[in-house]
Amino acid sequence: MIWLDALVCLLMIVVAVTATAVKNLVSAVIMVGVVSLLVSYLFLRMGAPDVAMTEAAIGAALTTVIFLIALRRTGEDR
């Protein structure tokens, strides 16, 4: 199982690095949201379902939404 976790970690870091490099800001924001979701999975694996829920709901979803709103309002979403 730890190999799956390691794979997830690797994927997470790759997505994070891509998010910092990708041209399109919307994609970058979504990628950061994906990172949060992957982290949320790791929390679940750690035996922290409370944290996993919070990370998914607030870290992944809500943060992404407010980022997208900000992108929209600054006209950076194109």
Binding site: V26, P49, D50, A57, L62, V65
Partner: protein, 261 residues
């Protein structure tokens, strides 16, 4: 160029520090404090979810502070945006398609109920005030996305926001009154039996209040961040024909979001 080099060197240095910390690894046993929580937590608070026990009771002051931070951020965001001119910008659509709207209306009620369920059962199952509150807020988000001209029930939200926060403090003061310690659980309400809905004394009450507070705060945050534009767009959409294109954009965005969830 020098700047990049310096940045890289600095980052390498930080990475070196992290390596030192990584060599520490993670512990193999519980520390004294967490051992106490685990061994005595159920007996002391009767909350099946020990994390809830820690969050609401043992480290209740942190949680009160956390709620305060959220309240503060929302107030601050509104404060920062208070002078934003409501100029009619581009003519983006204010409404999603009919299907999305209907779907949203249908979905809102169950979503909110689910949120309430989560925070009412915070002392028994995973989740609690913050998670439930976030779910409630996502219901509000759905409403906002579906119909951006919709005015949220601001009066209700304000009452909910203020009273739930105030009640949290009153609950804390009840502990001070009864047990001589702010946010104390023991003695304020009967602790009840472990693993029942009506158990854990005042913990579920407080977690419910937190859920209401967080839900209304997050909803208000979304409202604050979107509202200026929504109103502006409303002006534009009534007059210009550019609405459809904007509508497509909006719809596309929704899809992406939906996919992520």
């Amino acid at each position: 160029m020098t700047r990049k080099v310096v940045t890289l060197i600095a980052l390498v240095a930080v990475a070196g520090l992290f390596l030192v910390l990584l060599r520490l690894g993670t512990p193999n046993e519980l520390g004294t404090v967490s051992r106490h929580y685990v061994e005595r937590g159920i007996a002391e608070n009767r909350a099946a979810n020990l994390v809830t026990s820690v969050v609401v009771n043992y480290r209740g002051l942190d949680t009160l502070g956390e709620v305060t931070v959220l309240f503060l951020s929302v107030t601050g965001a509104a404060f920062v945006l208070r002078r934003r001119e409501r100029k009619p910008v581009d003519a983006r659509a204010s409404r999603a398609s009919e299907i999305v709207q209907t779907g949203a209306r249908l979905l809102v009620a169950p979503i909110m109920l689910f949120g309430v369920y989560i925070f009412v059962h915070g002392h028994l199952t995973p989740g609690g005030g913050f998670q439930g509150g976030a779910v409630v807020a996502s219901g509000v988000l759905l409403l906002l996305l579906a119909d951006r001209e919709r005015e949220l029930p601001h009066g209700l939200m304000a009452w909910l926001e203020s009273l739930s926060g105030f009640a949290f403090i009153v609950a804390g003061l009840a502990g001070l009154w009864v047990a001589g310690s702010f946010l104390a659980n023991r003695g304020v309400l009967p602790l009840g039996e472990w693993n029942r809905l009506l158990s854990a004394g005042i913990i579920p009450v407080i977690y419910t209040l937190i859920g209401l507070k967080v839900g209304s705060e997050l909803a208000a945050l979304l409202d604050v961040m979107m509202r200026g534009e929504a109103v502006a767009a409303g002006h534009g959409a009534a007059r210009s024909g550019g609405g459809r294109r904007g509508g497509r954009t909006r719809g596309g965005k929704n899809r992406k979001k939906g996919g992520r969830r």
